[in-house]
Symmetry: C2
Subunit: 201 residues, 2 copies
């Protein structure tokens, strides 16, 4: 970072950064991850290639940041899981929001392209999981842990596996497009899965 930058140059930098993210995500949506290039991003963002190389070491780095920024926007900067004391209601809220995100083309197209590339490229897939997937999964686990402490989930349940009962079916339906992804589906998943984790009477 250049400590002597003026407010104007910071604004210009911020504008360029935003243009680069937008261009990167648009290109990934249109041509796929593999065919997106630094040159293409620069041309579409209206910046020089060197501007991108000054800020990021590689295409993978700029794309990962663009995806993190997209995820941040979808989460409205919130990185907490709701905890109203009503576990089912909290899970429905989060799963419904995920459904909305998965159905929103702005989010769906680039994320789908990234997921597809991660499925065949194990290294990229591992970064995708570490940076983009695991952090939200850990928020679920935190919420399930407090539910387990409150006796709403039976002792001995492995929470890492439990969280997959919610996100696994949703992702399956989304990625493979088997059937429509709706709020009603999210609610049913919460009902069935939570019943599976509840204490046995």
């Amino acid at each position: 970072m250049n400590e002597t930058r003026t407010p104007d140059s910071r604004r210009r930098s911020e504008r360029s950064r935003r243009a680069i993210y937008d261009a990167a995500l648009a290109l990934v949506s249109e041509t796929g991850y593999a065919r997106t290039t630094i040159e293409g991003i620069a041309a579409r963002a209206g910046v020089g290639k060197q501007t991108i190389y000054r800020w990021w070491p590689s295409k993978a780095a700029v794309l990962m940041e663009a995806f993190l920024d997209l995820a941040d926007q979808a989460a409205d900067g919130e990185h907490v899981f709701p905890d109203t004391g009503d576990l089912a209601a909290d899970l429905r809220l989060v799963l419904r929001a995920t459904v909305d995100e998965m159905n929103d083309p702005v989010h769906e197209r680039p994320t789908r392209a990234l997921a597809a590339e991660g499925i065949v490229d194990a290294d990229l897939g591992a970064r995708f999981v570490e940076k983009l997937l695991e952090p939200p999964l850990q928020l679920y686990i935190g919420r399930l842990r407090s539910a387990q402490a409150a006796g709403e989930i039976r002792p001995g349940i492995d929470l890492r596996t439990a969280v997959e009962l919610f996100v696994g079916p949703l992702t399956h339906r989304w990625l493979l497009r088997t059937l429509p992804l709706t709020h009603a589906y999210a609610d049913t998943l919460v009902d069935y899965a939570l019943n599976g984790l509840a204490p046995r009477d």
Copy 2:
């Protein structure tokens, strides 16, 4: 079909067909679905391009048949779901077999390449789901239906959603490679999900 073929020519045809399937799946594994071509398959199988065009109208058609053949082999030609009367044991058996298949490179690599392409190409994805995914899911549903009739699954459970509690998490873990896919994981999934579908006492 040529009714006047001799046994020798039928054997030659069968050998060619097998070579074409093998070449198609190997190419998809190595270069991805999009970059696999009829020319490439013919060269690798050691047959003329016209042999392929005589039997299949398109690359998509030959690849879909190669995948159907692969799935048939994995299922050992069996297209029934076990029904021993013990629902949990039957589900564990099938999910463990799916884990083994997903961990077998012969099956994994081409299926992963096909799934990745289907994720970004909606038309291919729809064919993949219709031909390869829905038929086994319907077998699950049949087994769950008889369990529901026997009172082991509570009335009102939507069986199409229920089946996703088993295959969704498994596919999520496989495609995204979040954590190892093991028999123990399959067993835990059956335990949690089946508990979620069981009658409430």
